[in-house]
C-alpha cells in the first residue's frame, strides 16, 4: 500500500455556507476538507459542487460514519461508496475518527468513545486493515475528544493510537483541540500525549473551538482558544510543517473571518518553526 507523503498546506472545511465563495473563484487555501458522507450520494448538486471545488483545490475526504471501533466490523456497502467517491475525487487522503458510531441495529451519528483495552485495539486494527484494503490506500485516523473514560481501560489514548499505527500502517490526523479537551476532561498531561505519539505518522492537524466548563465540550462553534494555539505551536515545533486546517461546524462565520483565523495558524506555525530552528 502506498505511503502518504507529507503535505504542508493550510486549509478549511468546506461547508454549505461557503459553497458560493468556493464556486465563484479560487479561495486562498491550499486544500479543502469535505465531509465524505455529504458526497456519498447517487447524484445531483453535491457531487457537481465537489467536482468544481476539486478542479481548483486539493481535497481531503474526512468521514464521520466509518465506525472503525465497531465490534460488528466495518460496513462493506459504506466502504464501497467511499471507495467510489475517492476514485472519483482523487483526494490527498481519506480520514475518519478513532471512535464507534453504531451497533448492529442502530447508528448514533455521534463519535462515541472506545474503551482503551487490548480487545478494542484488536477490533480497531482488524477494521482498519479491512478499510484500507477496501479503499486501496492507507487512511488517517483522528484522535477523538471524549467526555468519559471506561473503568476497564488498560492503556492511555496515545498508547492505543501508537499501537494502531504500528500494527496497521495507518496515519494520524492530530486534532490539537481534541487533545486539549480530553486532557482537561480526563486529567492527563498534553506533553505526555504529544511525547507518546509517533509524530512521524501525523499527516494533518485540526484546529477548532470548544465550550469551556467543568467538562469541556468540543463544539466547533467558535474561534480556536488561546490554549489550543499554544499547544499547536508546541506540536509544530516538534513535528515540523504539516497540513493544518480550521474546523467550524456551527455559528459559521463569513469566509473572510475563517481565512483570518487560518492566517493566524500560518503565523503561529511559522513563528514556532523559526523558534525551533533557532534553538
Amino acid at each position: 500500500m502506498n505511503d502518504i507523503e507529507t503535505y504542508s498546506g493550510f486549509g478549511l472545511g468546506l461547508r454549505k455556507d461557503h459553497y458560493a465563495d468556493f464556486l465563484e473563484g479560487p479561495v486562498p487555501v491550499d486544500f479543502v476538507e469535505v465531509i465524505s458522507e455529504n458526497f456519498m450520494v447517487d447524484g445531483g448538486k453535491p457531487l457537481r459542487v465537489l467536482e468544481q471545488v476539486r478542479s481548483r483545490h486539493d481535497v481531503v475526504l474526512h468521514g464521520v460514519s466509518l465506525s472503525i471501533g465497531s465490534a460488528y466490523g466495518v460496513d462493506e456497502a459504506y466502504l464501497a461508496r467511499l471507495r467510489a467517491l475517492a476514485d472519483r475525487i482523487e483526494p490527498l487522503w481519506v480520514s475518519d475518527h478513532l471512535c464507534w458510531t453504531r451497533t448492529s441495529a442502530h447508528n448514533s451519528h455521534d463519535l462515541l468513545p472506545l474503551p482503551l483495552t487490548t480487545e478494542a485495539l484488536n477490533v480497531v486494527c482488524e477494521n482498519v486493515e479491512r478499510a484500507q484494503e477496501a479503499l486501496g490506500r492507507p487512511m488517517l485516523f483522528e484522535n477523538p475528544s471524549s467526555y468519559l473514560s471506561f473503568p476497564e481501560d488498560e492503556m492511555r489514548e496515545w498508547e492505543f493510537l501508537s499501537e494502531m499505527v504500528r500494527r496497521t500502517g495507518c496515519y494520524l490526523l492530530l486534532d490539537v483541540n481534541n487533545i486539549y479537551v480530553s486532557a482537561h476532561n480526563h486529567d492527563f498531561s498534553m506533553r505526555d500525549y504529544i511525547g507518546g505519539l509517533p509524530l512521524e505518522s501525523v499527516r494533518q492537524i485540526h484546529l477548532a473551538g470548544h465550550e469551556p466548563g467543568t467538562i469541556i465540550v468540543d463544539t466547533h462553534d467558535r474561534a480556536v482558544a488561546d490554549g489550543v494555539w499554544a499547544l499547536y505551536a508546541a506540536v509544530i515545533a516538534k513535528l515540523g510543517p504539516v497540513a493544518t486546517m480550521i474546523e467550524r461546524d456551527a455559528n459559521i462565520p463569513a469566509l473572510p473571518e475563517l481565512l483570518r483565523e487560518l492566517g493566524r495558524a500560518r503565523s503561529v506555525g511559522q513563528a514556532s518553526l523559526s523558534q525551533a530552528n533557532a534553538a
Binding site: 453535491p46 459504506y78 451497533t103 468519559l148 476497564e152
Partner: protein, 257 residues
Amino acid sequence: MSGLARRQQEFLAALLDEEAPLPAGWQVRHARGLAIYRNNYRGGLIDTLRDTYPRTEVLAGEAAFARAAAHHCITHPPSSWTLDQVGAGFSATCAELFRDDPDVAELAALEWAMQEAFVARDAVPLDAPAFAAATAHWDEAGWDGLKLVFVASMHLLRTSRDLPRMWHKLGNGESDCEADCLTEPHSVIVWRESERPVFVLRPPWEGEALAAFREGAGFGRVCGALAAKFGEERAVTEAGAMLARWIGDGLVERVDQ
C-alpha cells in the same frame, strides 16, 4: 457476544433511553459524560430533521415540531450511515401526531420527496426528438406495448392541499395555510430539473396513469383506463398531451416495449 459488543450495546441503550440503568461499573462522572453524548445525539438528529423539513416546522410551529422530532428520534432510531435517512418515515410520524392537521403530514411527505430528488441518480431525460425517433416505426401493437422508464428522481404523492401555494407561503415564513384546500385530491409529481427539485400538481387521473406506468403497464392499458373515464375521443387527446407533458418536463428516461 464479545465484551466490546456488550459494552457498545449498553452504551447505545443508555444513549437512547435516559431511564436505562447506567452500564456496570459506571459512576456519577460517567453519567455526566453520558449526558453530553445524549445531548449531542438528540440535538444532532433534531437539527437534521429541522434541516430536512423547514416548511413543515413553520406549518406545525417550532414547539410542536420539536416534540414531533424528539418523538420520531425515539420511535425511529437511525440505522443508516447517512444522516440523509434520519428523516425517513417522518411524514408517518406527523400523520400520527397531527391527526387533526393532515396537511402537516402531506407537506412532510413532499419535503421528503424533494430531498430524495435532490440527490437521486443523475439521468439524461428523453427529449421530444429522441422520443419521436424511438417510436417512429411502431405500429398500433407497438404503441399499445409502450412502457415508460422514469428518471430516478421522480416521486408521486397525493394531496388535498394547494401545495404550490403553501410551499411559497411557508418558504416566506407565513404559517397560515387554513384556506389552502383543494376541492378534490390531486396528484403531486416531484422530480429534479438539472440540480433543482421541483413539483407540480396534476389531476388525480394523471397520477393514476403515472402509477400504472411505474407498475409496468403499457400505453394501451393506460389508454383503456382513460377511455373508461373520459370516453375514447377525449382519452386519446389527454393521453397524447400527458405523454408530451411528461417528456417536456424531463420525467422520462427511456421507452421500452
